[in-house]
Amino acid sequence: MPNVLDIRRRIRSVVNTRQITKAMKTVSAAKLRRAQEHALAARPYSQMLTNVLKSLVARADIYDPITGEPRHPLLAERPEKNILLIVVTGDKGLAGAFNTNILKIVTKFIESNAEKNIDVECIGRKGRDFMRRRFPMAPEAAASEETRPRAGRVQIVGEHVGVLGKLEFNFASGLGGSVVERFSRGEIDGVYILYNEFKSVIAQRLIAQHLLPIKEIGVVDVRMAEEAAEEERKRAVEAAKSAGVGVRPVDTKAVDEAAAKFGALQVDYIYEQPPEQLFREILPKYIGIQIFHALLESVAAEHAARMTAMDSATNNASDMIDSLTLVMNRARQAKITKEIIEIVSGAAAL
């Protein structure tokens, strides 16, 4: 028979845990809201950039008029022998299956590209730790050698830890720049970014987005996607409702419409620089903004996942407290009954 005192102690500890998970849930909900705002604030810029690029495509002879071949190296497709994979995970755990799910799809991606050499850039501590256990780091670049020796078919070329907490555009644009450079040098023939896309709490999926070469400007080129399970989605919605976070996607129509006008008017612009030159300058920035976008969405998704996980934990703790209280009451009852029986039988024996 369990001791009443022991059970009481256990209940107290579960209550404490519940308090922590509840606080974490509230914090995550607030952070999620902030992350969504950030993503919204980034929209006009990316939309306008895309517009200018699109209108430049029409003006500058980006594509060869006869063969239709693109003239810009970032648009040219070539056989993929070496590819770069950017993996976006979180820095922290306690977010349910958030990190595991991403790493699962990463493994799948690597398996499905078994005949190619893959360089990996890890963003987020969890992804880095996972990849490090599995794959070697790329050897330091020796300036004298033409081709860098590879550490293996899959190797880690870069790690970025602790950038997600306070996400700045500088980081994304720097990474974008280095990726573009490697691509133009021919070190890599394709670039993919794997992350958790987050439109809203109910519209989430894991995607492998194809970044380079650019197939069509302004279109997200998804190569591999995995929708969240129905059950997971239901849980997320419940958590969002109880935390007071909107479930529907944030209304972006007004923002998008205003941004859509930028640089797209049917007027004859004076170009201070030749359109070709502008195009060349802007295209690498476009990659940067795409990476920035992916990071923003991943951060929002991470907070949403943590909120959901903590909501579940809070519920589970409540259930546990209920059942423990029941057990405790039963034990107390049994104890009292036993005492009465002892007294009664003692009296009867006299």
Partner: protein, 134 residues
């Protein structure tokens, strides 16, 4: 002819300025451009520099780095990678960046990327200049 235009300065992080302005000066790649209402449509790349605009008779300055601008008759939109008001600039940091860049430029180390150091120096100097105008 209108005597004002809508001025918007956008960065990837936020909308920095949204105002009705009477005049704006932007640092184009090939030199500063002064823009008044009713300007012909124009698209230009921005260099590192200071944007000065006048709204309601009051003049304000921001430091910007890389971006581009679209000018229409009644609207000027500036996309910049960074855009900071004088009060947002971290003077100590800019000062340090300036010193670092100067040191790099002076050294004879073949590893130094002079283009980058020069860019950094220019950014730091603009920041300091804008901050001083507060």
């Amino acid at each position: 002819m209108p005597d004002t235009f809508q001025l918007e300065i956008v960065t990837p992080e936020k909308l920095v300025v949204k105002e009705v302005a009477e005049e704006v000066q932007i640092p184009g790649r090939t030199g500063y451009l002064g823009i008044l209402p009713g300007h012909a449509p124009l698209i230009t790349e921005l260099a590192v520099g200071a944007i000065t605009y006048r709204a309601h008779g009051e003049s304000r300055t921001l430091s910007v780095a890389w971006g581009f601008a679209e000018v229409l008759q009644d609207k000027v939109t500036i996309l910049a990678e960074t855009a900071e008001h004088p009060e947002e600039i971290d003077v100590a940091r800019a000062q340090k960046a300036k010193e670092r860049a100067e040191q790099r430029l002076k050294s004879n180390d073949p590893e130094v990327d002079y283009g980058r150091a020069e860019d950094a120096l220019q950014r730091a100097e603009t920041r300091l200049k804008v901050a001083a105008e507060k």
